[in-house]
Symmetry: C2
Subunit: 220 residues, 2 copies
């Protein structure tokens, strides 16, 4: 990366961290739990979110921010499948969401009428890891088809994620994926990371993850 | 994205385009075909590259640049499986390769002894699309597990790619992937894009892609 862009990026990251603090303070004041979901393209974020929301929406008032470079498919899908309010945030080509974008998007919600806010970040294992969104928890998804070596290749993403969810475990018979190695690599990046295994499609393991999140949401 | 970073990024992109032209001119002078391979994490880039190189290495002198944020696994894998020289380029956390990084990495090869240079770019569908590497051809891979809707969500990547390769077609039975829709979406972004379907694991469709590349390499 060019020196000039590194320097500016540093300033931008400092500004972003400041804004993220403000977002976190605002949401804390309103007793809203903010969960940032990150992953590669096509790792099953939207499907898993729908399954989780349908398990949690009776107890909590939930809102969803769908970040995308282009397209409105996902916000629409989530609204239709869960009935909760989902808004689309376009990043105008950018590879990540900033805390400023989050602050702007929050205005589209009735903030006094929310318990939990989900953010589905841009499908990307690099840039979203650098930008604090103001979330209370970073949850990253790694799908079985992507391979168990990804924590070695995308260190920062695994380092900043409190929770790593291995998705699409129903496809294990067709892929060479080693859970133990994967877990070992994840803990090399973040020894406190919680690891879950799910198949949103077959509804396996989602209850356990929902239970874990429910506890966090209750103690928000 | 912050206005300040957009402005600097524009300057950086202009500089990068200039450097890419120089790289392209240098490689043209040396009769080297430069192929930039882009995709999401875990889409099967390395495996496909190995299969292609093993089909083409008797006719062409091939070199490989493996771009990664961290780790040296892939360069090693490619060297061992194909016998060609593969070097690892670390981007120090950056989400893409610049033309300057390519120019620097070229120095690690005996440039007068090369016909074809492959670049395996960072696993990312966003940032690498913005940075011209100086390549003669951009080839992007989309794996079946990622889903057929990706051209709608990552428009620039599909727009700048001359070739789109659908990978892991052996996993079709376990995924809901619509080839016709995918092809339609790809051509919406780039109506001249060539589309191939392969399973590197089962060795399906790789001959056809290798034949296509062979013709391009011969006419370099």
């Amino acid at each position: 990366m060019d020196y000039k862009i590194i320097q500016v990026k540093e300033d931008v990251l400092i500004e972003n961290n400041q804004k993220a603090k403000e977002v976190r303070a605002l949401l804390h004041k309103k007793h809203i739990f903010f969960l940032n979901v990150m992953a590669s393209p096509g790792s099953g974020k939207t499907t898993l979110l729908c399954n989780l929301i349908n398990r949690l929406k009776d107890e909590f008032k939930i809102g969803v921010m769908e970040a995308d470079i282009d397209g409105d498919v996902d916000a629409d899908r989530i609204s239709k499948r869960t009935g909760v309010k989902a808004i689309q945030v376009h990043t105008s080509g950018a590879c990540h969401l900033t805390a400023q974008m989050v602050e702007d998007a929050i205005k589209d919600f009735e903030i006094d009428d929310l318990d939990v806010l989900f953010l589905e970040n841009i499908g990307n294992l690099v840039c979203p890891a650098e930008f604090d969104t103001g979330s209370n928890l970073n949850m990253m998804l790694l799908s079985v088809p992507e391979g168990h070596d990804k924590p070695l290749k995308y260190p920062l993403m695994f380092q900043v994620s409190n929770v790593a969810v291995i998705t699409k475990i129903d496809t294990l018979p067709v892929f060479d994926f080693d859970f133990d190695k994967c877990e070992e690599y994840i803990h090399r990046r973040n020894q406190n990371a919680k690891v879950f295994k799910v198949s949103a499609l077959k509804d396996e393991g989602v209850d356990k993850l929902a239970d874990y999140l429910r506890e966090l949401f209750r103690n928000r």
